[in-house]
């Protein structure tokens, strides 16, 4: 019996070359130092991709890529399809994890100098994988065909429309027509499930093949720079001295991290559930607040904060330069120190880029530049700003709310942050300056002269002139009177100035 099994195994191996394939892939020799916790991110990114392919294929069993049906089929997935909500959640969290772990992988590879000779093309293929993954993130957001997807597409088209000369044609190419309509979603579906994943699989094959042919980067030692003339021999020597087969000697930490990643994705999906879909993709619902998924919030924020003249530069020139620099990196710096301990500029640039992206993402999340559309009707004026004010000033507070000043100006920490908070505006502007600012506008504020009657301006400015202290002071002459406070504080000293 055992003999028959052995014969079958030998026959299969003879036909399929399993042993040889195993020896040249999973069993290939790696430097012992590469079995480090820092080396787990690449395989974890690949794992995320596999999870995305599997869950994505399952979701495609039910999802309908039609403008008319997509939103309903997502609701069906969330609420009717057995385990549908969970697979959507896993797919969503899988993409978050994939972008995050891929970023860690890239930072690690950069800081360990793994892009240097002879692994230039591994880095270059990795950059393309990064771009394609971001392409998956954007097209994936469109698959969740809701208000954010619709307006996200509009933003994409508007950016494309700024391309000189062929902007119009490019918009048509992007949207599959002159406007978001039937074919648009089909186009993005094709990109999301066929084109980009196909390219990713091809590039992953190349990426892995290069890891096998050029070997995994040894754990860099400070003071051991890469020299083209000697590196190959040095690497061969490392393998000869302390080479171990990847399986089983260096895969242990990858396995543990892989399990943690899967548990992390499953856990996050279980706790937080699927993302959206948000409001119906009906453009006539203009009461909406479009925001991209977090991968693109930093770009979204940059577009709010840049001066006009810089926008085309940042939209088209900056990405081109950044990508070109990333692609050129292994050719600009093919040799020299690998260890981050001897590369302070590399460490600083990672911190610098992370800080910029982090701060912009945070700002994109909070969007202080956006007027708070319902502050005028939704945020009450805190009591301290109206307590004890005269009728004229109270009238001014009403004008302040009614004319929607609150959408851009906060009081007591509530309201828009487009313009400055006005809690203490009277300490900055005189009554005359307030009148001029209201009537003529200035800075980023439109003129309200035509929208306010003189009486309204008078009331409004009287109210604002009281905004210069955090606590209204009651008359000190009668500290112990028995009247209720608000009656005692008929006329607070807030009015003394101006």
């Amino acid at each position: 019996m055992l003999n028959i099994l052995r014969n079958v195994a030998v026959w299969l191996d003879d036909r399929l070359h399993i042993t040889a394939i195993y020896a040249s892939t999973a069993g290939h020799e790696v430097p012992k130092s590469a079995g480090s916790w820092f080396y787990v991110f690449g395989s974890a990114t690949l794992l995320c991709f596999v999870i995305q392919v599997i869950t994505g294929a399952c979701l495609a069993f039910v999802y309908i890529p039609s403008t008319n049906e997509a939103w309903t089929s997502l609701q069906y997935l969330n609420h009717v399809q057995f385990w549908g909500w969970y697979l959507r959640a896993v797919h969503n969290w899988g993409s978050n994890f994939m972008v995050a772990i891929m970023t860690l992988h890239m930072i690690q590879v950069f800081l360990f100098g793994a892009y240097k000779y002879p692994r230039e093309l591994t880095w270059v293929s990795g950059i393309f994988l990064l771009l394609l993954t971001l392409g998956m993130a954007f097209t994936g957001q469109v698959m969740r065909f809701d208000q954010d997807a619709y307006w996200g597409l509009t933003i994409g088209a508007s950016i494309t429309g700024r391309v000189p000369l062929i902007g119009e044609q490019l918009v048509h190419l992007l949207l599959a027509g002159p406007i978001i309509a039937g074919e648009t979603l089909s186009r993005f579906f094709t990109l999301h499930v066929f084109m980009i994943p196909g390219l990713i699989i091809a590039l992953i094959s190349m990426h892995l093949r290069l890891v096998l042919t050029k070997g995994i980067n040894e754990y860099p030692k400070p003071g051991k720079p890469v020299r083209k003339a000697t590196y190959d021999a040095e690497y061969a020597e490392i393998l000869r001295k302390e080479g171990v087969p990847f399986v089983p000697h260096a895969i242990d930490k990858d396995l543990i991290f892989a399990a943690l990643v899967i548990i992390g994705i499953l856990g996050a999906a279980f706790i937080f559930g699927p993302e959206g879909p948000g409001g119906r993709p009906n453009p006539t619902i203009v009461d909406t607040n479009p925001r991209p998924d977090f991968y693109f919030l930093s770009i979204f924020a940059a577009l709010a904060l840049l001066p006009d003249w810089m926008e085309v530069l940042i939209l088209f020139v900056a990405p081109t330069v950044c990508i070109a620099l990333l692609l050129a990196l292994p050719f600009i710096s093919p040799t020299g120190e690998k260890s981050y301990i001897r590369r302070p500029v590399a460490v600083l640039s990672v911190i610098f880029v992370m800080l910029i992206v982090g701060v912009l993402t945070y700002m994109g999340q909070t969007s202080p530049w956006s007027p708070k559309m319902n502050a005028w009707s939704g945020d009450a004026i805190p009591e301290k700003f109206v307590k004890g004010r005269t009728p004229l000033e109270l009238r001014g507070a009403v004008v302040f709310q009614n004319k929607q000043c609150r959408n851009c100006h906060a009081l007591g920490g509530q309201g828009g942050e487009r313009g400055p908070a006005l809690d203490e505006v009277a300490t900055r502007l005189t009554k005359e300056e307030l009148v001029r600012q209201v009537i003529q506008g200035g800075g980023n504020m439109p003129a309200y002269g035509k929208k306010l009657s003189p009486a309204e301006v008078d009331a409004l400015v009287s109210f604002m002139a009281t905004l210069h202290t955090t606590a209204p002071v009651r008359p000190s002459s009668k500290p112990e009177n028995n009247l209720p406070r608000d009656v005692a504080a008929v006329r607070p000293p807030a009015l003394h100035g101006r």
Partner: protein, 178 residues
């Protein structure tokens, strides 16, 4: 496989070399022709937007003038003329109609000129505000504040038999306004 066979039999390969070279050239040439025949329709299909020059716009009725009282700005919606049977509600396009007086109108695209987000009208302050990056426009559509590079996109309009018509059908962008 054929290469390894050739290596085994160098004499035979040598004997047929001119015929083999000729066949190889024919093979390559035929595949170039066949590849082009396949590529032309494929590229044409995918990049049809560069070939089609037809104006997608058409005149669209926004309804009788009574819907738009004088000196007000109101939202109007229309069914996009460039449409497919499976568009659903995505083809319902909103726009802002400002009735100045008589036959004098301004019809603004909903899209902010900065990046296309839907602007909202605030009657009391007389402003259009964009929820994305805080662009603001005055009542007449001109740029008031924020990052927009120009005023709101304006549809061309006409009034016929008490009906307001606008010419629309494409997403307005800086390179191709309404």
């Amino acid at each position: 496989m054929s290469e390894s066979k050739d290596a085994d039999k160098p004499a035979a390969a040598h004997g047929n070399s001119s015929r083999r070279d000729w066949l190889l050239k024919i093979g390559v040439a035929l595949n170039v022709i066949a590849g082009a025949a396949l590529a032309i329709p494929l590229v044409g299909f995918v990049f049809s937007s560069f070939a089609e020059k037809k104006d997608p716009r058409d005149w669209i009725s926004l309804g009788p003038l009574e819907h738009f009282p004088e000196k007000t700005t109101r939202i109007a919606t229309y069914r996009n003329p460039y449409t497919r049977p499976w568009d659903g509600e995505t083809a319902e396009i909103p726009c802002w109609v400002r009735h100045i007086s008589g036959d004098q109108f301004q019809v603004f695209a909903i899209n902010c000129t900065h990046l296309g987000c839907p602007v909202r009208w605030f009657q009391e302050s007389g402003l259009f505000l964009c929820p994305c990056h805080g662009g603001a426009y005055l009542e007449d559509g001109s740029r008031a504040a924020g990052p927009p590079p120009r005023g709101l996109f304006e549809y061309s309009y006409k009034v016929e038999k008490n009906i307001l018509w606008v010419k629309g059908g494409q997403m307005p962008t800086l390179s191709n306004p309404v």
